[in-house]
């Protein structure tokens, strides 16, 4: 009898996890769906890098992103601060599972360099944010498992585990808390290759644009291993500026500011 129950239990396991997987995917599909159709956006970013002693370093950059249907987005970032890298610009064509295409513009040499996009897990501008944390969210990039519902800071959330399917990720999994009402991330825990909790990202000061799209004004990334943290402050969000692929080519990279 016990054996039969045990057998049934094991037989049911995959069914339960199948349900959790499909629920996880459905929730993330809704996240993606609600955040589609914004066309393009520009914003100013300020990064505040804080080390263990509380010393702060600031970085400033301007960013524009072009939404690409059925593929990863195109983005162009121009650094303004620190001043020795002023004018350095970064062009990225992201893809769901294929390697991203990336170019760097070095203003002192007027040189455009095609660079490897294998550096997913490395730090962006010496911060606690990895390159992969900034890349555009595409459904194919992860396998999803719905874990539970949970109340976070008074918000009713879905808790979902994401397992990266793309190459060179620094994470085994991330756990995301998704607001049940607005379908936006509130918090993400990142687990490193050894499956220990590496970083926690929190999203604050959400604002709604065009009556639909929610964007965080403050994102904080706390590294639990080093104790360092990085705060991203986002200002001047502007949607639907009429940007086209032409503003995201190597010619535009060379004259970007």
């Amino acid at each position: 009898m016990n054996k039969i129950i045990l057998g049934l239990y094991f037989a049911m396991l995959p069914c339960i996890s199948m349900a959790e997987i499909s629920k996880g995917l459905e929730i993330m599909q809704e996240v993606k769906q609600r955040n589609s159709g914004w066309s393009d956006v520009t914003a100013d970013l300020e990064m505040v890098l804080t080390n263990n002693n509380g010393n702060e370093h600031r970085r400033k950059l301007a960013m524009k992103i072009l939404e690409i249907k059925n593929d990863g987005d195109k983005s162009l970032s121009v650094f303004n601060n620190p001043r020795d890298i002023k004018g350095t610009a970064f062009l990225s064509f992201t893809h769901a599972l294929d390697a991203d295409e990336q170019w760097l513009y070095l203003p002192a040499l007027k040189r455009v360099k095609r660079i490897s996009s294998s550096n997913k897990s490395g730090p962006f501008l010496g911060s606690e944010i990895a390159f992969e944390d900034l890349s555009s969210f595409e459904l194919e990039k992860y396998k999803y498992t719905y874990l539970r519902d949970e109340l976070l800071d008074g918000l009713d959330c879905f808790v979902i585990e994401n397992a990266p399917q793309y190459e060179f990720s620094g994470y085994t999994r991330t756990i995301v808390w998704v607001d049940k009402v607005r379908y936006i991330p509130i918090k993400i825990d990142y687990y490193d290759r050894k499956n220990t909790l590496l970083k926690t990202q929190t999203f604050n000061d959400y604002q709604q644009f065009l009556g639909q799209y929610w964007r965080a004004g403050i994102m904080t990334m706390k590294n639990h291993v080093t104790g360092k943290s990085t705060q991203l402050l986002l200002h001047n969000y502007k949607f639907r500026n009429g940007l086209t692929a032409r503003q995201f080519d190597k010619n535009s990279l060379k004259r970007s500011r």
Partner: protein
């Protein structure tokens, strides 16, 4: 009374004008740049009595930038000045950029003085022929003089075609009598000779097609006009002295550059065919760069580079690189200070002569940058051009403030 009113009027106008300049500079004009202090220290005693062991210099480069018309038009002015102790030829002013730009959907037009970079390899820049090199600025050959040009870029799905008219030839800069890193006698830049005159000497033309397809970035270019690379003639003067004179030839040069980006591996290839009155020469640089990213989750990247350099002109070429191997390593800490190190060695395949190059840089206090470069020359044989540099191994340090 009338004079008084006129004065008042002038004063008023001046005041308004200054006000306008002030407001436009603070509102729409951007100023940035750097000032630096450099120490150039040679390890060995100089070969020639006019030369020195140590040189101090100061540098300033500023950029004044303005854009309007929703960013589709812009103006940039970049003056540059280095003042050097001892070597008067190294004290020089240059307009690196003075350009008006107009960008439209399918084209871009640039008028004025600019720098242009073509190519993909690291140890040598074969296809990069638009600008004259500023060789007194740094012996690494990465610095360039501003080149006046009309540049029209035609932008299509199948790539970008750039057309250039380059209406003024600029002569290369050379170290003076008191400078190091020079042959004996020092190059007499003021006695330069040409195989063409008039328009043919002054005006050059160039066309380049560049495109990206998936993992591949490629460019095909052609240049017609006076070569930026002179050959050198030894000529006796009436006084009995011997002069080393740059001789600039008219050339047709076709260049090809290709890079394949395969995950962490970059494959790079440049090749040129260059036809002058005296010869047809083939040159190529080919190699790879492989990077180990974020080693042990430390954030540190280590890149390994290797390139082979060939020039059919052999040792008669006015280049130090005719049949050489380059190997190097790049270290990036990716820390807040952006600490970087590049170390490499170029080895001549036949003579075994070596040229070592180490460059390191680090930012501090957010606005300052410190750079150290070490260059060592070893084992050049007597007949090689590099023989002149046998006692010129040196350290270069520069501290700069960026605004």
């Amino acid at each position: 009374m009338r004079v008084c009113r006129l004065k008042l009027c002038i004063f008023h106008t001046l005041f308004l004008f200054l006000g306008f300049i002030y407001s436009s500079i603070t509102n729409a004009w951007e100023i940035s740049g750097y000032v630096g202090l450099e120490s150039l220290a040679f390890i060995e005693k100089p070969l020639y009595k006019e030369q020195h062991q140590h040189y101090i210099s100061g540098v300033i480069e500023a950029e004044l930038y303005h854009e309007w018309d929703n960013g589709t038009q812009s103006f940039a002015f970049v003056p540059y000045f280095r003042g050097s102790q001892h070597d008067s030829q190294r004290t020089h002013f240059d307009v690196r950029e003075l350009t008006w730009l107009k960008a439209a959907d399918t084209w871009e037009l640039r008028l004025g003085i600019r720098k242009v970079f073509w190519g993909v390899t690291e140890s040598n820049h074969l296809v990069d022929v638009i600008n004259q090199r500023d060789t007194v600025e740094n012996s690494d050959g990465e610095d360039k003089l501003g080149q006046p040009m009309i540049n029209f870029a035609f932008i299509q799905d199948w790539g970008t075609v750039d057309l250039f008219i380059l209406p003024w030839f600029r002569e290369r800069t050379f170290a003076g009598e008191e400078g190091r890193l020079r042959p004996e006698p020092a190059v007499s830049g003021d006695l330069s000779e040409y195989d063409k005159s008039g328009y043919q000497r002054q005006v050059a033309y160039a066309i380049r097609w560049a495109h990206s397809m998936g993992d591949w970035d490629m460019g095909l270019s052609h240049f017609y006009g006076t070569s930026r690379d002179p050959i050198f003639l030894l000529k006796g003067a009436e006084s009995g002295a011997v002069n080393l004179i740059p001789y600039y030839q008219n050339i047709n040069q076709t260049g090809l550059d290709i890079q394949a980006t395969l995950d962490s591996l970059l494959l790079k290839w440049e090749a040129t065919i260059r036809v002058s009155e005296s010869e047809t020469a083939f040159a190529t640089t080919a190699g790879f760069e492989y990077t180990f990213f974020n080693i042990m989750s430390s954030g540190i990247d280590i890149g390994l580079l290797s390139e082979y350099l060939y020039d059919s002109r052999g040792s008669t070429a006015a280049t130090l690189m005719q049949n050489d191997f380059f190997v190097g390593a790049r270290l990036a800490l990716n820390d807040i200070q952006d600490s970087q190190l590049l170390a490499g060695v170029m080895v001549d395949r036949f003579s075994g002569a070596q040229f070592y190059n180490i460059e390191a840089s680090r930012r501090f206090f957010d606005s300052f940058k410190f750079e150290v470069e070490a260059r060592f020359f070893n084992g050049a044989i007597q007949t090689a051009p590099a023989y002149f540099l046998r006692q010129d191994s040196h350290f270069r340090m520069e501290l700069s403030y960026h605004f």
